[in-house]
């Protein structure tokens, strides 16, 4: 069916030669890989920053750095991981690579805008990171840039703010592109409700990218105006309101976590049915719950601010709405479990990642419920418990889904198969390290250890040792996984076109795909 004589997208030579054929390419597949390589590079930087933090925390008191340095490191760790990794993450990599293919299209609606999105990503990243190297101290505000400190501190906050602003544009344009693509470029017969789940999650995500990102954009500009013009919106000395900053910041940053997790859920919704050899259970429920998560997710942001001094009405409303938004997420877990039930399970690397995703995502989600309960939150806010919660759900969620996806789609992307032995070893080492790293933090948070502190009381020492060791082990697992992927991409065994027996459109085309994906646009019956 797809023994094509046409060059595949990796070998194709267009107007530009060599590296320029990549960084000036408007082919969604190359752009997806550009994102993957840049994101993975920044991820290693962010991971090393995390590792440094865990080195510091392995013993009370100063271990390898001063408190000020620690503040700068967790700030950069957060900025890198949030804005450079998990927000662009899966939409930029797998969305770009596979969305057009999954709906039977040759590319996205605006291929040049797509390339611009990647360039804005790179420029934004460079500007943000330049904050580390300019005259003056590295930003130490945390990735949240809370006022008034963010405009009072002398550290290089300005480049970080501007970098984040530019990155926002990248996100918005990707979202815009995907929405128009899905509305206008589905193949004949590919009705909305015939699309696989992953495009649907990308659709919900795209609307959040479109509607929420501008709010943080204008908020960051307002902080710039505070620093440069003394404008006063968030400055109590001038009549401004710092809590208003928090409202505006989280009005984006909460929906942002759904930008992170919805596509991840989409990937899992592709992997599990393939390896259970069963269609996803309750397709319509999965689609509707995805869109509901996107919608309700706009209205829960205040749960990041329970101790900021909001009104009683506000506290109650946000706690209530937070519990509401958990419902569509939970529905998904039931659907995935029901898909596995009485399935014919094929145990391969992507499936290990998908099933362990279910485990860590549930822990992350349930700990989120704990935090959503007002009375408990008062004790747990800004403790290690919160750090554990969001690493379980974001790192566990997006990270595990990414690894599931990259192993799942590896043969399609490269036409080669990864080494399963090393992949599975990497998975088990990583998974064990992950659990050892983050589980003790739940205990530490309940016991009272604050977050963003480089020191702690001696009672917390043992749990911190366990956690830091977990970090080293996890990092080891990460190295195994990444090295295996890189080596297999270069010298892996040639793969067949549909090694897993997948049912969606990408498995009907050649591995690697030809430039226009399909020799003929398919007609869906």
């Amino acid at each position: 069916m797809s023994n094509s004589k046409l060059p595949n997208y990796l070998e194709h030579q267009g107007k530009f030669k060599g590296i320029f054929g990549w960084i000036f390419s408007t082919d969604h597949k190359r752009i997806g890989l550009l994102y993957m390589y840049s994101i993975m590079s920044f991820f290693v930087v962010g991971a090393i920053l995390g590792l440094l933090m865990k080195f510091e925390l392995i013993a009370p008191g100063k271990t390898i750095m001063e408190a000020k340095t620690y503040n700068a490191i967790f700030t950069l760790h957060g900025i890198t991981m949030i804005f450079l990794i998990v927000v662009p993450g899966i939409p930029a990599i797998f969305g770009n690579f596979f969305l057009p293919i999954l709906i039977g299209a040759k590319d996205v609606f605006y291929p040049k805008l797509n390339l611009l999105s990647w360039w804005l990503y790179i420029i934004g990243a460079v500007v943000a990171i330049s904050s580390q190297f300019m005259n003056g101290a590295s930003p130490d505000t945390g990735w949240t840039f809370y006022a008034p400190y963010s405009f009072k501190t002398q550290s290089n906050v300005l480049p970080a703010l501007i970098g984040a602003f530019i990155l926002g544009f990248s996100s918005i344009l990707t979202g815009l592109n995907f929405i128009v693509t899905m509305h206008r470029m589905r193949a004949p017969g590919m009705k909305w409700l015939k699309m696989p789940v992953f495009p649907w999650t990308l659709y919900g995500t795209a609307w959040i990218q479109l509607l929420a990102t501008p709010v943080v954009g204008i908020t960051l500009l307002m902080v710039v105006a505070e620093r440069v013009l003394n404008i006063g919106f968030f400055d109590p000395a001038l009549g401004g309101d710092p809590v208003l900053y928090q409202h505006l910041f989280w009005i984006y940053s909460h929906p942002a976590v759904y930008i992170m997790i919805l596509p991840a859920m989409g990937v899992i919704s592709e992997v599990i049915p393939t390896f259970a050899r069963k269609a996803i259970f309750g397709y319509k429920a999965v689609v509707i719950s995805s869109l509901l998560i996107a919608f309700v997710g706009y209205f829960v942001w205040g749960h990041h601010m329970f101790t900021a001094g909001m009104s009683g009405t506000s506290l109650f409303a946000f706690s209530f709405l937070t519990f509401l938004v958990a419902i569509p997420s939970a529905i998904k877990i039931f659907n995935w479990m029901a898909t596995l039930y009485k399935g014919s399970i094929l145990l391969r690397t992507p499936m290990y990642w998908a099933v362990s995703f279910l485990f860590v995502f549930m822990i992350g989600g349930l700990s989120g419920m704990v935090l959503g309960a007002l009375a408990i939150n008062v004790h747990l806010h800004d403790t290690a418990f919160v750090v554990s919660h969001f690493h379980f759900i974001v790192f566990g969620g997006v990270g595990f889904a990414f690894f599931a996806g990259i192993h799942y789609w590896f043969p399609k992307i490269y036409g080669k198969m990864y080494d399963a032995g090393w992949a599975d070893t990497g998975w088990i080492v990583f998974f064990f390290g992950f659990l050892l790293l983050y589980t003790p933090m739940f205990y530490l948070g309940i016991a009272g250890m604050p977050r963003r502190y480089y020191d702690y009381v001696p009672e917390f020492h043992f749990a911190n040792i366990l956690s830091s060791f977990g970090a080293f082990i996890m990092f080891g697992g990460l190295l195994i996984i990444i090295i295996n992927l890189v080596r297999s991409a270069r010298k892996g065994q040639k793969s067949e076109e549909n090694p897993w027996g997948g049912k969606s459109l990408e498995w009907t085309i050649s591995s690697p795909p030809i430039v226009e994906n399909f020799e003929e646009i398919p007609e869906i019956k």
Binding site: V180, L210, T213, P214, I218, M222, G240, L248
Partner: protein, 203 residues
Amino acid sequence: MTENSAHDHYDHEGSKLGMWLFIFTELLFFGGLFIVYAVMRYKNGTAFGLAAEELDVSIGAINTIILLISSATIAMSITAIQLKKKKLTIILLATTLILALVFLVNKYFEWGAKIEHGLYPGSESLHQLGHGEVLFFGLYYFMTGLHALHIIIGIVFIAVMIAKVQNEKLNVDRYVQLENAGLYWHLVDIIWIFLFPLFYLIA
């Protein structure tokens, strides 16, 4: 005159959808500022009312009407191009552009007068007046300034459209870019429709 070749990727509806989506981002972008306005106004009602007296309602009203007329002219330019009236299209677009420039000139004088009186973000005179005034003028400059930036971008957009109508890259069969320029311009108009009462009519 224009054939639908096999490689013609012209998708009128898709292009229009893309523009609408961009407009949504602009609504949310300005929306953040409207939220700040609403909260600050709620907390400083009297001071806002007093500060608003510094603004000249007539200039504000004239500018509002200028923008409304410019919206009408650009809307009519689309009818003109649909009726294949190339010259009328250009006249209407040029009118839009001139009205936009007049708006900016008015703004320039308005701002100039305020700045001469020492009323600008960070100024000593402003701080002397009190919190409500500081916030009112901070919002005034930020919001009308951001709006003016969008007008400038719109002027460039319209100028490009005029050129394209002139060399017939835009014509009765392919005019979605002109429609999109119109959509953008109407958005700029709508933002001002709200800025006007919120800054000029609350004295």
